[in-house]
Symmetry: C2
Subunit: 214 residues, 2 copies
């Protein structure tokens, strides 16, 4: 299906507009790559434009500053992750199952989407400070579980921070030693998260044994 | 008791040596304060020497670089915390009780030792990358609990990272809203940590209800 079918009244984009959008996206992609290599904010604009394979001078046609670019790039990574979670959790209403899906999916990014995984590993707990992505969905599901009496924890934010901490530990460990982290390590973290939230151990194990649709 | 009683053969320190040591300590204390105010690495050497109330020029008599000073200062905060934990956990052999003491003590730093708490809140998960302090003791106790069959988790490092993540979430939350974090929030996190490690919920609650000696 063509995009026009969804937005019949959208103005036609000129070739110049499209090229501009491509250059902007090349800068964002370069920023994401630099972030995942741990160079992020330390990279110069020169390095960013070289990485994006565009002229140094055109940077400021798209972004006011390096900080603005990295902000947009981080946002983009978060939204990509969020959309993946929304697909994988579509139709699931039990908050415990949703949390398990979130942890299991995010941990598997280590090999399915190393760029996003690298971003989380570097960002550490700052990853949950972004309004979109991880934090909003996780908090919403934890609160739903509290309201339904499914989780016994009182402080949703602290619990989310613990789960995010475990996730970063796992992703950092995978980066240091690829062989040490596999599906069973990720699923173990999902069980730990459910137990932490107050789901009985046996039920946590049962939930995490369900097939994961991605 | 005088120090000489413990080190009778130590060379006598001259007044100059003592003054040098005081200046060095003033720089370390200033660095710790700047770190806990979130300025840490961003502070200039000028700001550090002003904060320490010493002349700009004498900085390099004590440290080669800002990075070296902050490294030493972080180490010092970690060792201070470690010594507090060793006192509070002296004589306790059950790894589950030791982990609970560690979490309960560290969470209470928010009001007993705001400087150390601020350091942890800022450092985030990097706090467990230091070889001394938090990481070494926590890992040792988690491994002892695995060996004793007290904990069911397989990956000690990931579990430690989750507990540290919850702790940072709690300390950051306390800093944002002092009234929202009290002893019961800290003790709740200790229970969450024990459940995560694989201690049954009822037993985790019983362990955390024990009096805490500090």
């Amino acid at each position: 299906m063509e995009e026009a079918a969804f937005a019949p009244d959208a103005p036609k984009t000129s070739r110049l507009d499209r090229r501009k959008a491509r250059t902007r996206q090349a800068l964002i992609d370069a920023a994401v790559r630099l972030m995942t290599e741990g160079r992020g904010e330390r990279a110069s604009i020169q390095e960013i434009t070289e990485e994006a394979d565009i002229g140094f001078g055109s940077f400021y046609n798209h972004f006011e500053s390096k900080e603005q670019l990295f902000q947009v790039a981080s946002q983009e990574v978060m939204e990509l992750w969020g959309a993946m979670f929304d697909r994988a959790s579509a139709g699931i209403t039990d908050p415990a199952v949703r949390v398990a899906v979130g942890v299991r999916l995010t941990g598997r990014l280590a090999w399915t989407h190393p760029t996003i995984a690298g971003f989380f590993a570097d960002a550490g707990l700052d990853a949950i400070e972004f309004p979109s992505g991880l934090a909003a969905r996780g908090l919403r599901d934890i609160r739903a579980g509290q309201a339904a009496g499914r989780f016994t924890v009182k402080e949703a934010e602290v619990a989310l921070s613990a789960i995010a901490g475990g996730m970063c530990g796992l992703l950092r460990r995978h980066r240091r030693d690829l062989e040490n982290v596999d599906e069973s390590s990720v699923d173990e973290l999902a069980e730990e998260a459910l137990r932490l939230l107050g789901v009985p151990a046996r039920e946590a194990a049962r939930i995490v044994a369900r097939p994961l649709s991605t």
